[in-house]
Amino acid sequence: MSTTAVPDVAVTPVGAGFWSRTRKVGLVLLALGLLATVLFGALATGEQARFTLSEDAAGAALKVDGTVGAIVFGLITLAAGGTMFTGLPRQWFIPVLAVGLVAFVLSFLCWQVSAAPAGQNFMPLVNIVRGTFLLALPLIFGSLAGVLCERSGVVNVAIEGQLLMGAFSGALFGSISGSVWVGLVAAAVGGSLISLLLAVFSIRYLVDQVVMGIVLNLLAVGITGFLYERLMQTDAARYNSAPRFSNWEIPLLSDIPVLGPALFRGNIFLYLALLLVLVIHIALFRTRWGLRTRSVGEHPTAADTLGVRVLGLRYRNVIMAGAVAGIGGASYTLALFSFTKNMIGGKGFIALAALIFGRWSPSGALLAALFFGFADQLATYLGAINSVIPGQFLAMLPYLATILAVAGLVGRVRAPAADGKPYIKG
């Protein structure tokens, strides 16, 4: 995005030196730390907050006294904020920020877990980690679809539609054929169909890409909703009972504490998502395809003068993106639930947020997706322990975080320069 503000009045920013970004962030951390130490510390109870390494209250656990934990972690946040405020070398910015934020979250958790109703003063880490990944799955696929599209210069607001179409066609064709694999392929094709429309209309007919994305989302909601009511509701057994992928346990890895049961006893989609992040990351930054894709997203004219087929590459990448998102949609219908109307419910837009928050890079998008997934999982958990924190506010977190990121408060995000601009061959 063109992140240049448009200054109107010549305000003299001579004093800009003092309020550097580091200082501002430091101040925010200080405030958070204070909040954690005082408020969380006061509200936490003397109960032990137990973070169990299993799926329930049983087994080994990390234990900490609620009040002590809340205050100690709050102080760590304060310290991080203080360090940042007084200034520190640039390469330390991210680590210190991370420490500060993680400590804040831990302080928060100490409070929450210790203040939970009697007998529930524990947090099963396996569940939390597994849930985080599970909830992040569509986000990972979706934001990867975004990466593929936007790195080659096509804005993808249609992620929601691609996920939905993937989920739908996966369910439909999986049910009809009775094969998960047919369903998986159908899901990829379904997602690609939405992508194909996005590609044709934005590349060939030069329709604004954001407009097209919005319209395609509505189209996907309409078509899947219509066919759902006509087919799946009338004959669910035939059209909406797709087989599901079973969980595959990976030997050795699945024995790692916490991570093992959470990550390596999952289904194909989890493995596929992680693999795709890796593959796309390497491909984007280390291969010819990646170099060309990035050049097309940054400066298509330059790429064209060097013989790169701009439009062809864009078509290909956009359609590939659809396939990736389609598979992401199938991670619902071929593993968890049967199809319901509008079942993606805004996940596509969180995926878009993850893409932006992750600064248009596959690994960044993965981290952002996990962060958003964690927020989501935390909301569920807090709901279960009757927390005073309303789940809705945690659900807002991804969106608020993205707004802050885009406003330049958490580092500056810069989209590929040609993102959203149709290329017209001169």
Binding site: L206, V207, V211, I214, F226, E229, F393, A407, G426
Partner: protein, 441 residues
């Protein structure tokens, strides 16, 4: 470097041939058209003439009509392939084609006939009420869409893409409803306050992306999308709070808006049409005046078309951006307020605003971001909604088909070149019909 050189120069500059010039004009043709045709400085056309101009603006109208036709054709295909009985007749289509054709025709024609009867006029109507009912339904659905459509269109003209009409409408509905059941006010005043509260809610929600855009350059598309969801979660949280939630219910529904804050009905108690549609017409007029006859509108259009030049000419771009978003938000908020103050619902539920914000984007595009065009487009969408309800209950065709139709119409509108190719229209007539505003993040 230099201008004429640039005109015929390298590819990153201006296009070389006439054809390319036409193609690349897409970015701004629409705005150019809209900026110069109704705006301009010529003798002011009357409202009626403006209305007609928009209606009959030759190629625009043609393409719109043809897009509607195309969308309905695709809709028909969807109906046929999703009906197992009709589809069965196609298995022996070579043997007895008449079966397939008859079955398809019956299905499709009945569905579309119901669409018409539900939205415009039912010939079987016997009483005044049943005769007026379709129109009344259409107007009920039209009113909020006019506001959200205007909201998106106004921002568009100012160079901003307001995808946040949904969120702004949500905040509008929240404040309007709160004012509607929390404030004990006398009848007329109560309604007025509730409506203004709705506008205020939307304005606040528009102000945020506006100020962020102006101050930090943060892209309004991203921020408005994000704020949409923040608004939804806020709404779902708010509904279940004490004092807001309906005391006798356990599910997510709020108390009902007092009768004193509800918009009066137009055709008596039996019909749902309410005064909102009148407000909508007034709003359309006001937006048209604002855009074309006011200094603020001049600034807004200048900023929308070329922020650099506007700034150089002393127009405050940041102030204009903020104002645009506040106005756009207020409009969307007004649209939202009708969802509880009108006859659609009287209480907040998580889905109370339906899709009016997103539909507003489609309406704005269909109306070519001109106020009266938007009003007409909203009317069409309102009719589709109203007709869709009847189609659902009488023909068993899911209401979702209407969403499909709406999306398709806009897709076709957005790519007139495609419509042109399908119908072999003469090139010159549609060359300048692109609706687009190429804008990256």
């Amino acid at each position: 470097m230099s201008e004429p050189n640039a005109r015929q120069g390298s590819p990153d500059k201006e296009p070389a041939s006439e054809e390319q010039a036409n193609r690349s004009a897409i970015d701004n043709t629409e705005r150019a058209e809209s900026a110069s045709v109704p705006g301009g400085a010529g003798p002011r056309p009357t409202l009626g003439r403006l209305f007609l101009e928009n209606l009959w603006a030759a190629n625009t109208f043609t393409v719109t009509l043809l897009s509607l036709v195309l969308a309905m054709v695709v809709g028909a295909i969807l109906m046929i392939i999703s009906d197992p009985e009709v589809l069965a007749t196609y298995s022996y289509v070579t043997a007895r084609p008449s079966d397939a054709i008859t079955a398809s025709w019956t299905l499709v024609s009945e569905a579309y006939a119901n669409l018409f009867k539900g939205s415009v006029f039912d010939p079987a109507a016997t009483t005044v009420n049943t005769a007026l009912s379709p129109i009344s339904e259409t107007l009920t659905y039209t009113a909020p869409l006019v506001f959200t459509g205007l909201s998106v269109a106004l921002a568009f003209r100012g160079g901003l893409f307001n995808i946040g009409a949904q969120g702004q409408a949500t905040m509008g509905v929240v404040l309007a409803a709160l004012a509607g059941f929390l404030l004990p006010l006398p009848p007329v005043l109560h309604l007025l306050v509730a409506v203004l509260a709705g506008a205020l809610g939307g304005a606040i929600w528009g102000f945020i992306p506006g100020i962020l855009k102006a101050r930090t350059g943060a892209h309004e598309v991203i921020n408005t999308i994000m704020l949409n969801y923040v608004a939804v979660y806020f709404l779902t949280w708010l509904i279940v709070q004490n004092g807001v939630q309906d005391p006798v219910r356990t599910d997510a529904i709020s108390r009902s808006v007092d009768a004193s804050a509800q918009l009066p009905r137009l055709f008596g108690d039996g019909l749902r049409a309410h005064a909102g549609i009148i407000v909508a017409v007034l709003a359309t007029w006001a937006v048209a005046w604002l855009l074309n006859r006011s200094t603020l509108g001049f600034e807004l259009r200048a900023v929308g078309a070329n922020p650099d030049a506007a700034r150089t000419a002393g127009i405050s771009v940041t102030r204009t951006y903020v104002l645009i978003m506040v106005f756009a938000g207020a409009l969307a908020g007004l649209g939202g307020s009708q969802m509880v103050l009108g006859t659609t619902a009287a209480a907040l539920t998580p889905l109370v605003v339906a899709q009016i914000g997103f539909d507003g984007i489609l309406v704005a595009l269909l109306g070519r971001v001109k106020p009266w065009g938007v009003a007409l487009a909203a009317l069409l969408f309102g009719a589709l909604q109203a007709g869709g309800n009847r189609m659902q209950s009488y023909s068993g065709i899911s209401l979702e088909l209407v969403t499909v139709l709406q999306a398709l119409i806009v897709i076709f509108i957005a790519a007139p070149a495609l419509v042109k190719a399908i119908f072999q229209l003469r090139a010159a007539r549609t060359a300048r019909l692109q609706t687009s505003l190429a804008k990256g993040w």
